[in-house]
């Protein structure tokens, strides 16, 4: 018996499987099983004590649901805008901090990174109070000093979204900047030196050396940003002090899933929303990765 056990454990072919077994187990229980079950539930009407298969009617309902489309549009716009804001700027800041002429590097690094350490709940609440509609809120006092009339920030789509993006930028610029900083550290100095010898200016060095060499980092940041953008929920929830923003200006796909599944006890319909989110995120990311050539075999 022990012999068999020893042979088994020391077997080079078996050992790797034993090592990854805990991960696979956790992955199956907490990811694969819920995912499959969500697919099943999306074809059901889930009521306490009574589940019933109803075919595609959750989906057909979904594609006629104007609030759902609003949620998809919101999540999509938010995702695109965070990509636009949270990739170029952090990259620029990273280059600036990485530059030899920059003073007080560590100070700026920590200042940019600090917001990421606060909880979204606290940050969202503070933003909500700062942008509250009353005349005495921080931002309204500020714009009154500049001679404008107070604004109901969180009641209009444009200003509401601007606040949401501001919150996102405030929180995530530092994190993305750190990704880019670590990417920059991996670019060999020699490349810049030889470029200097060839007489390249800073812009040429940036576009011809820095950006191409940062490509793996950019792809990584883009992939997680696409997902994070589409799955955003807490920020909106905290900013509007609940899941119900006026005229649904802040509803997101996950917010709608939460509203249907938990607030309205409609798990089957919520599962369908979740599956659509999964499909959207997968399609976007796979396309993006394909275009960026991540699936090509390495040379």
């Amino acid at each position: 018996m022990t012999k068999f056990f020893k042979k088994f454990i020391y077997n080079q072919k078996v050992a790797p499987y034993i090592f990854i077994f805990p991960f696979v187990l956790i992955f199956c229980i907490f990811f694969i099983y819920p995912m499959i079950y969500t697919v099943v539930m999306s074809f059901q009407k889930i009521l306490p004590g009574e589940n019933e298969f109803i075919g595609f009617s959750n989906y057909s309902k979904l594609f006629r649901d104007s609030v759902f489309f609003k949620a998809v549009a919101n999540s999509f716009v938010y995702m695109v805008l965070t990509l636009v804001l949270l990739i170029p700027f952090p990259m620029l800041f990273a280059c600036m901090i990485n530059s030899r002429t920059m003073a007080a590097k560590e100070f700026f690094k920590s200042v940019f990174f600090l917001p990421a350490l606060t909880s979204v709940v606290v940050a969202g609440t503070i933003f909500r109070l700062a942008f509250s509609e009353s005349d005495s809120s921080l931002m309204n006092q500020f714009i009154q000093m500049l001679g404008f009339t107070p604004i109901k920030w969180l009641k209009m789509r444009e200003t509401g979204f601007a606040v949401l993006l501001l919150l996102a930028c405030w929180r995530w610029t530092g994190v993305n900047m750190l990704y880019f900083l670590s990417g920059l550290k991996n670019i060999p100095e020699e490349l810049y030196e030889s470029a200097d010898i060839d007489g390249a200016n800073s812009w040429a060095k940036f576009t011809k050396i820095t950006v191409p060499m940062l490509k793996p980092t950019i792809i990584y940041v883009m992939t997680i940003s696409v997902y994070a953008g589409l799955a955003m929920f807490t920020e909106s929830y905290m900013l509007w002090g609940g899941n119900n923003s006026p005229q649904n200006i802040g509803i997101t796909i996950v917010g709608y899933l939460y509203r249907q599944g938990i607030e309205k006890n409609n798990m089957g319909y919520a599962s369908a929303v979740g599956i659509v989110l999964l499909v959207l995120a997968m399609v976007l990311n796979l396309t993006q990765l394909k275009i960026n050539g991540l699936f090509k075999k390495e040379d």
Binding site: L47, P48, G49, E50, K61, R64, D65, S66, V67, S110, L114, L117, T118, S119, V121, V122, T125, R128, L129, S132, E133, S134, K152, K155, Y237, M238, G241, G242, N243, N244, S245, P246, Q247, N248, R259, I262, E263, K264, N265, M267
Partner: protein
Amino acid sequence: MKKSKSGKKLLASLLSFGIAASLLGGCSSGSSGSKEDSSKSEAESSSEAQGESLTVKGGEGATDLSMWVFVEIHGQFYAEMVKEWNAKNPDKQINLTVTTYPYDDMHNKLTLALQSGEGAPDLCDIEVGKFPNFLKGTPQLADLTEYIKPYKDSIVPSRLALYSKDGKNYGVPTHVGATVMFYNTEILDKAGVDYTKIKTWDDYLKAGKKVVEKTDAYMGTIDTGGLNNYLAVLAELGSDYTTEDGKPNVDTPEMVKAISLFKSFKDAGISEIIAGGHSDTEEGFGEIVAGKFASVIEPLWYMSRFTNYMPELSGKIAIAPLPVFEEGQKRSVGLGGTGTVVTKTSKNLKLAAEWLTWAKLSEDGNIQIWKILGFDPVNTAMWTNKEVTHDPENKYVKYFKNNPFDVLNEIRDEISLIKSNEAVPSLANYLCTTTFNSIFEDGADIEKALKDAQEQVELELG
């Protein structure tokens, strides 16, 4: 030179202190500090997800019961009722732990706990607008019909119907919630308006014009996040916003008329949108205390908001029946409410149900509901008990200019019912987030906005 150097040092130490402080602040989120902010800004701020508990101990061999509520002062009432129960029933002692959670959090937690069959408390308060969610499918709540029976004859029957399905009662009502008009007489006196003379909405409009002309206040509130104003008027018109078989029913001439009434007040400049979206929010209380509004339409349970959050207005608020379009229309409607349930998973279902029905339906209990919560209790026997209703020491009797029960007895046969059924959670949600905002903030066409609401909710339920 030297000075600037030390200044730099100071700046540096200040900065590092700031960084350290914000780091710490980030970690200990929500536990302290946030509460003061939230009490200032928003009633149902979710920053305090922890919940606050209150425990009442019984004697030896007492049974532990747990309970969730979403209004703190309900917890105080239940605590008092456990004390009385323990004094009267030495053989059935109870240890009760009541936990208060924010409104949304509590209902969401309960949904999940009942759906998964684990983690639900023995007893729980459920707000009437959320109740239909918990009656879906096979309700995971205990059937209380048998326990309610002994009290059935003396309580207002329509309030039980709100919490029932297929003839079984699952929830115990707290109050009638007769809707009335609360007038701020200080403002009205300044404007030279006698509120007892306001009988119709035309009178109200005329009085409002005087108020706006002679004071800084508005006559009334416009709610974009609350239904009470519109439902009260809808009930006067003898209509409802859902049908008998649980379908939405908002694209009706009556609903248009109800909303148009408030739109006309806004257009005439006598009413304005209240901060926070409706009068039952901390922001709303702030504006009412500040004297921005001369009148508020709310059910009688709003009395406790006055005494708890607006003590400054003591002695200035009068209660009156609602104005109507034409005399003869019913002047009140039962709105809001809380159905208390016993969950199916409770290990002490029988004791919990016995205590609950006694606490909320017996005359003893109803006297405490009035004394502690300031609600119009469902046990009508109590309404004419002058000793209790006109007790000069009672804080509600002291606070208001006239006696609430005088008004209640005046309108007792005019209190209509707005149904609560499976269409209500979705419908209320859509109206309060989208429809009212688009009508009053963006000036959308009323008929079209209501038609959109009807279509969206039909789709969602279909």
